[in-house]
């Protein structure tokens, strides 16, 4: 009886356990990984001249030649937005990576555990080709 159990039920149960672990690892198991990524965003151009509310509102127009005639009050016109330029910086981005991707990364030494206990990718862009060990 014990032999039958050992030879039929136990292998089946362990086999199912292994398949379950494999499927869970491949489809469900993820880990947060910090990765430096290049991020591009727009910010005001620091070299642009500051907005002058009393400046020439119509560059190129004929010069001022007298006070304007009184008329109905005009609507408030907001100042024009400052000129923006694209800026690219390296920023830490946290992504949840599936286990197959983690396996691929450890084969090339692409993951380290930081002092704070977080996973950090060691490269940006093209992965290294060699395991450091």
């Amino acid at each position: 009886m014990w032999q039958t159990i050992r030879r039929l039920i136990l292998p089946t149960a362990i086999l199912l356990l292994g398949v379950g672990m494999w499927v869970y690892g491949a489809r469900q198991h993820t880990q947060p990984v910090i990765e430096e990524q290049e991020m591009t965003f727009l910010e005001p151009d620091p070299n642009a001249p500051p907005f002058d509310p009393f400046g020439d509102p119509f560059p190129g127009a004929p010069p001022f030649d007298g006070p304007p005639e009184f008329g109905p009050p005009g609507e408030f016109v907001p100042p024009p937005p400052p000129p923006m330029i694209p800026v690219t910086v390296l920023a830490d981005v946290v992504e949840r990576n599936a286990e197959p991707l983690l396996i691929r990364d450890v084969t090339i030494g692409g993951l380290v555990l930081s002092d704070s206990g977080e996973l950090r990718r060691t490269y940006t862009g093209e992965p290294p080709s060699l395991c450091p060990t």
Binding site: L17, W22, H29, E99, L101, T107, L111, L119, C131, T133
Partner: protein, 284 residues
């Protein structure tokens, strides 16, 4: 009577004569002939993933690296459990490329010495200490981390990369001195004993050996067919001494012993007739 050996013509006994061909065929698979580089999953054998021709990730390397990252490797354990419970150490004897290398070296006619009977247990020290504990406690930079001294990594990865870098005139990525010493010792030993790496150090074989007790396919000893001819013990070269127990830890299931009719490959999931085949009682 020792001279009345019961020779078997079972399927296993017939297959065992072609074991080297099976190993060579699997080697061709592990060397990634289609350049698939499936490094997102682990293979079932001991083959360094840094090898330029590695199809899968090495399960032992991934296990150690994941330990250093404090992650449980579900895919790796799943692979080892499924393969282990299906066939146990058949993987070592028939599929593993590193075992094949040692089998080829053992064919060189040099004097061979036998390793002591307790030798098979040192693998568990390697598994627990160098694969699991050292990377988990000290990280992968520790000199005792398994991959830092692994001769498979040295032979399959470091040597090709050193040669290719030297050939291309680039800076040479020298492996550590410890790795080179272990590689040199390994290359020396394989000519003077049978499968020294598998017997003494292989952590993957240690894991598979644990499944020999419960694997779907196993070696079965038939006491009623045994006449103590000792053929099985004579045929066994791997310190397992006849595999008269199905759960023998040091057995690599090369099936040499199944040439005696008293030992067969068995499974409770497969009809025994299909595995045992025709057997005959032959005097020799």
């Amino acid at each position: 009577m020792a001279s009345m050996a019961r020779k078997s013509k079972s399927l296993a006994a017939r297959l065992s004569r072609y074991r080297a061909w099976f190993q060579a065929t699997f080697l061709a698979v592990w060397l990634d002939p289609l350049l698939l580089r499936l490094h997102h999953v682990c293979g079932p054998v001991f083959h360094c993933h840094s090898c330029p021709l590695a199809l899968f990730a090495c399960p032992i390397g991934v296990m150690g690296q994941f330990g250093a990252l404090s992650i449980f490797p579900f895919i790796t354990f799943g692979t080892l459990v499924v393969v282990g419970v299906a066939v146990g150490t058949f993987i070592c004897g028939w599929v593993c490329p590193f075992g094949f290398l040692q089998d080829l070296a053992a064919r060189v006619p040099t004097p061979k010495f036998e390793l002591p009977a307790w030798a098979g247990y040192t693998r568990y020290g390697v598994l627990v200490g160098m694969v699991l504990l050292v990377p988990f406690l000290f990280g992968v930079e520790h000199p005792l981390f398994f991959c830092s001294v692994c001769p498979a990594g040295a032979l399959e990865a470091s040597v090709p990369h050193v040669v290719s870098a030297g050939w291309a005139g680039e800076s040479i990525p020298w492996p550590s001195a410890a790795k080179l010493v272990v590689l040199a010792a390994f290359l020396g030993l394989i000519f003077f004993t049978w499968r020294p790496w598998c017997t003494l150090f292989c952590p993957l074989g240690a894991i598979y050996a644990l499944f020999n007790k419960v694997s779907v396919f196993f070696l079965k000893f038939h006491p009623d067919r045994c006449n103590d001819c000792n053929l099985c013990r004579t045929m066994c070269r791997y310190t397992a001494k006849g595999q008269r127990r199905a759960d023998e830890l040091r057995c690599i299931r090369c099936l040499e012993c199944t040439r005696c009719q008293a030992l067969t490959v068995a499974s409770d999931f497969v009809p025994s007739a299909s595995l045992e085949g025709e057997a005959q009682h032959a005097g020799s």
